[in-house]
């Protein structure tokens, strides 16, 4: 698999579907401190949104608001046409540092299955249909043969695939992926990004993905949600990949280099043309 060339992903605001996310004058606070405020934006359904901003800007916090885990301090939030609600089955979630937090004690198949049946009390076996859905999700992410392995036995790229299988097993309409490319080598980054593009096309799912490096995601992103100076903003991706905006956002000079394939931005005083992403030489975690 290779990363798809910049394909024409249209923001599929399918007729009649509510936006994936609406923020209306929203402010969020943690432990009494405002993390960000004046959130006024609408993420159309079907978009692939890069969520960017420096560490501690409140990207994970935004996801927690969307998941209904954190009430807002002010304003109104709407997720897929309704107020956020914990346990909303229409949302698939891959937390930050997810695969590192999982123990040794669970098979991939069971982990994916828990997203389907794990919230139910009582002694009930998984049905044949539920098993089939788990298999289908694993197959979809190219992890069909990993079902019986333990998460701790997989490489970083394989773990991320299984995590995505868990997020899509219940046919989510909105995927929230918190730094899914961290700790992946360049090839695995491209494969995960390609997978996201395919999921978006096949299922018309909305994807919000937190990333520190936009480069590997540019082929699939339609929009960006960026946290700048304590406020969230939302724009089509083309308007975000601008040297002055990115320089301000990252707090370090950023140059945008346009290539035949699309936009590529590089950071700092690095040699400009075709500079690989800063994560390129980070080794993948050994299995």
């Amino acid at each position: 698999m290779t990363a798809p060339a910049a394909d024409s992903l249209t923001t599929g605001a399918a007729a009649g579907r509510p936006p994936a996310l609406v923020l209306d004058g929203v402010a969020v606070a943690r432990a009494g401190h405002t993390v960000w405020s004046q959130g006024d934006l609408t993420v159309p359904s079907g978009s692939v949104v890069g969520v960017i901003g420096p560490n501690g800007a409140g990207k994970t916090t935004l996801f927690q608001v969307v998941l209904g885990l954190l009430p807002v301090a002010a304003g109104r939030v709407e997720v897929l046409g309704a107020p956020p609600r914990r346990g909303d089955r229409r949302i698939g979630y891959v937390p930050q540092n997810y695969t590192a937090a999982l123990g040794d004690a669970v098979r991939c198949r069971d982990l994916v299955g828990l997203a389907l049946t794990g919230a139910r009390f009582g002694l009930r076996r998984m049905t044949r249909e539920q098993h089939a859905r788990v298999d289908a999700a694993l197959r979809r992410v190219g992890a069909a043969e990993l079902g019986d392995r333990r998460m701790s036995e997989l490489s970083g790229g394989q773990q991320q695939r299984v995590a995505i299988a868990q997020a899509i097993v219940d046919d989510a309409e909105l995927l929230l992926l918190d730094e899914p490319l961290a700790n992946l080598d360049l090839r695995n980054q491209h494969e995960v990004v390609a997978l996201l593009g395919e999921l978006r096309r096949e299922r018309d799912v909305t994807i919000m993905v937190v990333a520190h490096d936009l480069n590997p995601l540019l082929p699939v992103l339609t929009d960006a949600l960026y946290l700048l100076d304590g406020h969230p903003h939302h724009d089509p991706i083309g308007e975000v990949v601008q040297e002055d905006l990115l320089t301000h956002l990252y707090g370090t000079p950023v140059r945008v280099v346009r290539t035949a394939q699309g936009d590529l931005f590089t950071r700092g005083a690095l040699p400009a043309r075709g500079t690989p992403s800063p994560t390129a030489d980070r080794p993948e975690r050994a299995s």
Binding site: L69, A105, D110, L114, G118
Partner: protein
């Protein structure tokens, strides 16, 4: 020092096995093994080993307090274990927070236990049986309580097993999917406290790990299929108790030592066979416990 007294095989061991106290020991030990084997998976995946260990000690003032007031020891143990369990369960989701609370409650409880023991003028024998357990002294009254506790543990666990497993191995996603992670954590610690109340009387405070942690850890080295982990852990715990009792009838030694020895032996064999390659994510918590033995009260 002279050499220890020679340990001879007791020729009448078959008769010993048929004595009424042995029947109680087999029944009581089996009930404990069932509950402990089932809970072990969750103790290991939730990194609750320290809490399990601490709860056993937190029961100590309950036991000595019961001696002081002339109440059943099981009752005293249960009250303190469950109370301590609730404190630990409510003390926060982060392992670090939990460990600080657990350690503090543990210290307070141990101090209280020593106080009660000396007030009650507890004999060294009574204290020893709390610390090391005495399976051969299980009364019919204790047995009835054990049956109630085990039934409660098994039924509640069957009811919460799936969400509890979700909350244990994958708390972040479980919470997002609507699993009541905090409430399950508190409920689990209460089940653990009930099991430890029983286990303390079988293998004692100091050897408790052998029933509550070791069988499940052994099973998890062999498989990650949840049903099989439970089956193997329960089988190992039962086998340890039964074999331990038979050996204690054959050789005039306390069963605790054999029960623990067999469980640890099985774990060591499995560890050797499966290799040490697999990385362990949960933390092994080693303890040196000699300092908890209240020598001052052993008059």
């Amino acid at each position: 020092m002279t050499r220890p007294a020679a340990i001879a095989v007791q020729p009448d061991w078959l008769e010993i096995l048929q004595a009424p106290f042995m029947r109680n020991a087999f029944l009581g030990g089996s009930l404990v093994a069932l509950a402990a084997g089932l809970l072990g998976f969750f103790v290991v995946t939730r990194q609750n080993a320290f809490a399990a260990h601490a709860l056993a000690h937190i029961g100590f003032p309950g036991a000595t307090g019961a001696l002081l007031l002339g109440l059943p020891v099981t009752l005293g143990l249960a009250v303190f274990c469950v109370g301590g369990g609730l404190l630990i369960g409510l003390s926060g989701a982060r392992v670090a927070d939990r460990e600080i609370t657990t350690g503090t409650v543990l210290a307070a409880a141990t101090g209280l236990g020593v106080l009660f023991a000396s007030l009650a003028g507890a004999t060294a024998g009574a204290t020893t049986s709390v610390l090391f357990g005495n399976l051969l002294a299980i009364s019919s009254g204790q047995l009835r309580l054990f049956a109630v506790f085990t039934a409660l543990v098994v039924l509640v666990l069957a009811w919460i097993a799936r969400p509890l497993a979700f909350a244990s191995v994958d708390p972040a996603v479980a919470e997002a999917r609507g699993v009541p992670v905090r409430a399950l954590g508190v409920g689990f610690v209460v089940l653990l406290a009930l099991t430890i109340t029983m286990a303390v009387q079988v293998v004692g405070t100091l050897l408790l790990f052998a029933l509550v942690v070791t069988p499940a850890a052994t099973a998890l080295r062999l498989t990650a299929r949840p049903g099989r982990v439970a089956a193997i852990a329960v089988t190992l715990a039962l086998a340890s108790v039964w074999l331990g009792l038979v050996l204690s009838a054959v050789l005039p030694l306390p069963p605790s030592a054999f029960v623990v020895g067999i469980a640890v032996l099985a774990w060591a064999v499995v560890l050797l066979v499966t290799g040490r390659g697999r990385r362990r994510r949960w933390r092994a918590t080693p303890f040196v416990d000699a300092h908890h033995v209240p020598r001052a009260t052993a008059t």
